[in-house]
């Protein structure tokens, strides 16, 4: 069965060599989109791109450190160069750095998170805007986190920067709606690269979190998150903007046993 929901669309995805970004790339490719797959890990990124190409996808790889404005502008330009447009933008890139008490986080850590989670997406969205406006069509899908929405202990810079991104995304949704651009947020719970890292740092908490999820499991990036990202990028979401979708088996409801050991 062929899925043509994203046929003729060009998508830029950051942090797409693994985890949620890759899951979304896989489903976008299946839906017919052309893709610029970007990451900081070039070996992984090239490998993922090759695998998608072998399945018949139109995909190119571009190195992109989202904390560097030139990289971000270049990845959007690459889509225009290769595919003639940038119709869909998925701001997903994230690199985790453990947990710490609020007062133990340095200014540098906070700044690094803001660069990665707010400025990176901002630069990408501003670069994509003129192209989306020209076609009167655009889809922005930004990945945020329940950590931010619920202010989980231990991850203050992540929380703050992801909530900043949510607000930024909703403001853009409001202001850019007249241009046929829809911008939405996914708060996923999936076995991403950072989740796998988290299970190493705090295995008991990770186990309890997955078990407390109403569906009793973590999500699969392609199966569980990818389909939602395809929907948000498609024509079907034309009247849907500024939303936060929790794609987490219901884990965002009822409360989570989030109790990392932060030490003394």
């Amino acid at each position: 069965m062929s899925d043509t929901r994203l046929a003729g669309r060009a998508a830029v995805i950051t942090g797409a060599s693994d985890g949620i970004g890759l899951g979304i790339a896989q489903r976008y490719a299946e839906a017919g989109a052309a893709i610029v797959l970007s990451d900081v890990d070039d070996a992984k990124g090239e490998s993922a791109t090759k695998a998608l190409k072998e399945k018949g996808a139109r995909v190119v790889y571009q190195h992109c450190d989202v904390t560097k404005k030139d990289d971000v502008l270049a990845v959007v330009a690459r889509s225009v160069f290769e595919f003639g447009s940038v119709d869909i933008l998925v701001n997903n890139a994230y690199r985790g750095e453990g947990i710490r008490r609020v007062e133990q986080w340095s200014d540098d850590s906070l700044q690094a998170n803001l660069l990665m989670n707010l400025y990176g997406p901002k630069w990408a969205m501003e670069a994509a805007l003129p192209h989306m406006k020209a076609k009167k069509w655009g889809r922005i899908v930004n990945i945020c986190s329940l950590n931010g929405v619920n202010a989980h202990m231990g991850s203050m810079p992540y929380n703050s920067s992801k909530e900043a991104l949510r607000s930024y995304t909703r403001t853009a949704a409001r202001e850019w709606a007249p241009h046929g651009i829809a911008a939405n947020i996914i708060c996923p719970a999936a076995a991403s690269a950072s989740y796998k890292k988290f299970t190493e740092i705090a295995p008991e908490v990770a186990k309890a979190t997955a078990a407390a999820n109403p569906m009793g499991r973590m999500g699969d990036p392609a199966e569980d998150i990818g389909g939602v990202a395809v929907f948000l990028a498609s024509e079907d979401a034309r009247y849907l903007t500024g939303n936060t979708l929790f794609v987490d088996g219901g884990g965002h409801i009822n409360g989570v046993p989030w109790t990392p050991d932060l030490g003394e």
Partner: protein, 263 residues
């Protein structure tokens, strides 16, 4: 080529007009068997003819007053008796009126809660056993920005719709283990009534249009239906307890809501 919802059975209340019609048509287009229920059975029969002719799906019609528990129970039972399953439940029937809070009588509050909240509770409770046995269910309930933002002069509607949201989210937590998802759509789309009103009041149409960021009114079939289809489909299987605003961005930034009410 197999259609997305082929083999599924969907029950939609109030499917002959507005949001309910848009959702029902999108789900029927995807190949589901349809059970449509409402008070005005003539309109329902007419809609059923349209669904059968346009989408080639089986459609069963039942006259149901969703404010009566016995009728809601009978509705769910009739669907399962007829089709052997119930996969998708769209609780759409509901309504509102503008009136000052202090002028709202007990009887009025009770009626609006029967129509907008208890109807949903009864249908969900009745559908649970079959959905649990199937290890599959998709519950789609209609919320409202009126409730979320507590719009003036629609107190019973606001309260009952917010109650539906809490009910839906609680079901999402409790029933997630059974493969049942429950989500809320807060839609904004034109209805026949709205279109008639705008035809008679073009200045009002212009004023309201300015408050919609997307710059156009929603159409139930083109704009709301596809979202209901998404929530009814396999792609949304890991997504539950969400409130989705399908309103061209109207839920952001705030709206200057000021309906006319008597003193």
């Amino acid at each position: 080529m197999t259609k997305e919802l082929e083999g599924r059975v969907a029950l939609v209340t109030g499917a002959s007009q507005g949001i309910g019609q848009g959702c029902s048509r999108a789900i029927a287009a995807a190949g589901a068997k349809m059970f449509i229920a409402q008070r005005n059975v003539e309109n329902a029969e007419e809609e059923a003819k349209y669904l059968r002719a346009t989408y080639g799906v089986e459609v069963e019609v039942m006259k149901v007053d969703v404010t009566k528990r016995a009728e809601v129970d009978a509705m769910v039972k009739a669907c399962v008796d007829k089709f052997g399953k119930l996969d998708i439940l769209v609780n759409n029937a509901g309504a509102s009126v503008a009136k000052r809070l202090e002028n709202t009588t007990d009887e009025e509050m009770s009626y609006w809660f029967d129509l907008n909240y208890f109807s949903v509770f009864w249908a969900m409770r009745a559908a649970f056993p079959i959905m649990k046995a199937q290890k599959y269910g998709r519950i789609i309930n209609m919320g409202s920005l009126n409730g979320v933002n507590a719009h003036m002069f629609t107190a019973p509607y606001n309260a009952s719709k917010e109650a539906v949201r809490a009910l839906t989210r609680t079901a999402a937590v409790e029933w997630g283990a059974h493969g049942i998802t429950a989500n809320i759509i807060c839609p904004a789309a034109n209805s026949r009534n709205a279109e008639e009103y705008f035809a008679a009041n073009p200045e009002m149409e212009k004023a309201i249009l300015q408050q919609i960021p997307a710059g156009r009114f929603g159409q139930a079939e083109q704009d709301i239906g596809p979202v209901a289809l998404f929530l009814a489909s396999a792609a949304s299987g890991f997504m539950t307890g969400n409130t989705i605003y399908v309103d061209g961005g109207g839920h952001i930034n705030g709206v200057p809501w000021r309906p006319y009410v008597e003193d």
